[in-house]
Amino acid sequence: MMLDQLDLDTTLTALKYILDNSREGIVLCDKDSKIRFVNHEAEVLLSVKKNEWYGKGIATLFQNAFDESEQPIKDADVILNSAISKPTAVEKVIGVQQNGEQKKYWFSLRSKKIKGSNDEFTFVFLARVNHYKQQLLDVQEELEDLNQILSSFDDIVLKVDVEGYILNYWCNDPEHLFFPPDDFLKKNIIDLFPPDFTSKILSLIRKSIRDCVEQEMTYQSPFDQPAKKWYKLLARPIKYQTDKVIVIVSDITENVELKEETLVNEQKFHQVFHSSGIGMALFSLDGKTIKLNKKIKETLGYGSDDLGLHFRDFTHPDDIQHSEYLFESLLNGKISSYVIEKRYTHVDARSIPCLVHTCLITDTRQKPLFILAQVQDLTRFKNSEYVLNQQKKELEAAKISLESELNLLMELNHIVAHNLRAPASNIQMLIRQIVGETDANERHKYLQLLDASGNTLLSLLDNLVELLEIQQSSYFPFELCNIEIITEAIKVKLESDINEKSAIIRTDFKEKMVFFPRLFIENIVQNLLSNTLKYDDPNKRLEIHIKTYLLDGKMHLSIDDNGLYTAISNDDGELLDLKKIFHQERNSRPVGLYIIRRKILSIGGTITFDSDPKTGNTLTIQFPLSTPI
């Protein structure tokens, strides 16, 4: 049965049923916007009782209302009335705080004016849209976040299709764009950029679309302005869109320049490292070589084939401990660098003295990267230093020698001024006495004293001449002498004295060769032997023991005798006091000792003399082992 065939009452009943049971809230207003009907759903949604609202304005249902942007609606009457008075359907979203609650209830209002034969009225359809409103708010928030994220990038983001048309763009700063947006939006990149450049970009975009894989290229701006910047272009596929990509253009000029600067710096370091006039070596933090320059090869013989060697491997064994300590101190941060003299072991096993400056190389965050050692060969310097030291020693020796000569001259001057004058003055006084003496016996005594004084004077002169001759022997060259042969020759020379004293001479030459001036060694042996023979003990048979031996690597000569005790000590002040010794000319053994001692000391040897009233005398000479300067 058609609706038109129903009677009015049935129709109204059916209509009322439909309105009351609709799942949408429905409010019916008359032409004055007064509420005439509120269905059950509207009652629930608006928490009203429909009878209480009949005849009231529609706006009274929406007290404490808010618009979509959550701003309070002050003139709800005007807005709603104007909305529902429009002939066309009006749709609006409105928020309401009901019953004093803080929570907002959001409604979608849709109004439709209906014209009857006699009257006109408006349907207002209500739907609760809190869920959608919340989704909208979430989307808005996300959008806001995205905008904020985008605004933090300096990149240019373009949406480009497979043909190369630029569909959209995002850019935080319009200054970064090549063109004003209107000039490139919906335009093809072919029309914007030079052909060589665009062909590469198009190829990249199409490859990204085809393979669904991100593609990347780096390029320099095809334009002169802004000045030749560098960019990275990233073509990124868009999910579910098979003909478009997102193109991200990033300014990487700073990175490129930094990279170039780094490369230049690396190149500089490389050139400085390899062209350096001093040896340079890079060590890892565990002490192994990672780079050696040419000078290191020249100095120590190690090159690229030897990388990986630990510094211990070519440090002199005696310097390893100290080097390791300093290396550890660098790593521990106790010191930042150090300079030491150390010895390295050359590939050919030679020891090379070097000056080494070592420092820790770190990154910009002070994290240790490696150790750099700069090695300066000190061989020539050390050799020069050695030569200088030798020359210094020679000069010092020459100075000592000259001082010694000067002292001797002063002493000789004193001897002449005093010791020789004593017997001479005696002679003069004796002559006066003899001349004035009348008694024959006294004259005879004076003559005897005159003879003694003459002998004393002569003996002193002999000693003086001997001293000067031996002093002169310092100019004789050093040579290898056979002391046994020399001793035998002296024994032959002194044979008559030896026989006269019935002296027993024993020899024990464990070492026969001595490096010394021959004349002087002959003089020493003769002087010692003749003195011993001259000052024998009349109560004993003279026994002499001559021996040579090595002690502490040095040649020693000793002569023992059981002759007269000589109260001379080893004290330098006594054995070297020539004035005192010459004054003791009546026992001239010390004169000989003085002469020998002076000579031995002047060439780096030592001499000791022990005299004991019971056991006799022992004189020991220690010769210098090496050639004296």
Binding site: N413, H414, A417, H418, N419, R421, A422, P423, A424, S425, N426, Q428, M429, L430, R432, Q433, L449, A452, S453, K579, K580, H583, Q584
Partner: protein
């Protein structure tokens, strides 16, 4: 009757000592008794023992320089350091064969030394010195 005076000679040269003694035997103005000490040590021992016995001390002292054990200068040092009273009372002469200027100038280090005499010394010079000493004028430095 001639008055007797004691002369001390400190010298290790026996020939000179003999000659010196012989010379003083001929001194005309007094009788001189010469005591010889062979080195400075002997003289020092004597002084230490007899410094307070006026009768045992000599009237004039002659000292050689170069002697074994204790030299003439070392003897002077001892006398000075031990502040012996005798050095203020008795004339002291250095009598040496040394003609070294350093020796001659060294007497200036000892205010109590009267003079430096050089060997050989002969009768005239020696007697003049003795005269001076015995005339009572000395010691006046």
């Amino acid at each position: 009757m001639k008055q007797t005076y004691a002369i001390m000679l400190v010298d290790d040269d026996p020939i000179f000592c003999h000659l010196f003694t012989k010379l003083l035997e001929h001194y005309p103005n007094a009788l001189l008794k010469t005591s010889v000490f062979k080195n400075g040590e002997e003289a020092l021992q004597y002084f230490r023992m007899h410094q307070h016995e006026q009768i045992s001390l000599p009237d004039v002292i002659f000292v050689d320089i170069n002697m074994p054990i204790i030299s003439g200068w070392e003897l002077m040092d001892f006398l000075q350091s031990e502040s012996m009273e005798l050095i203020q009372k008795i004339p002291i002469y250095i009598l040496s064969s040394s003609i070294s200027l350093s020796d001659k100038h060294k007497i200036n280090d000892y205010s109590f030394i009267n003079d430096y005499l050089t060997k050989p010394i002969f009768k005239k010079e020696l007697f003049e010195v003795i005269d001076k000493c015995l005339s009572g004028l000395l010691p006046h430095r």
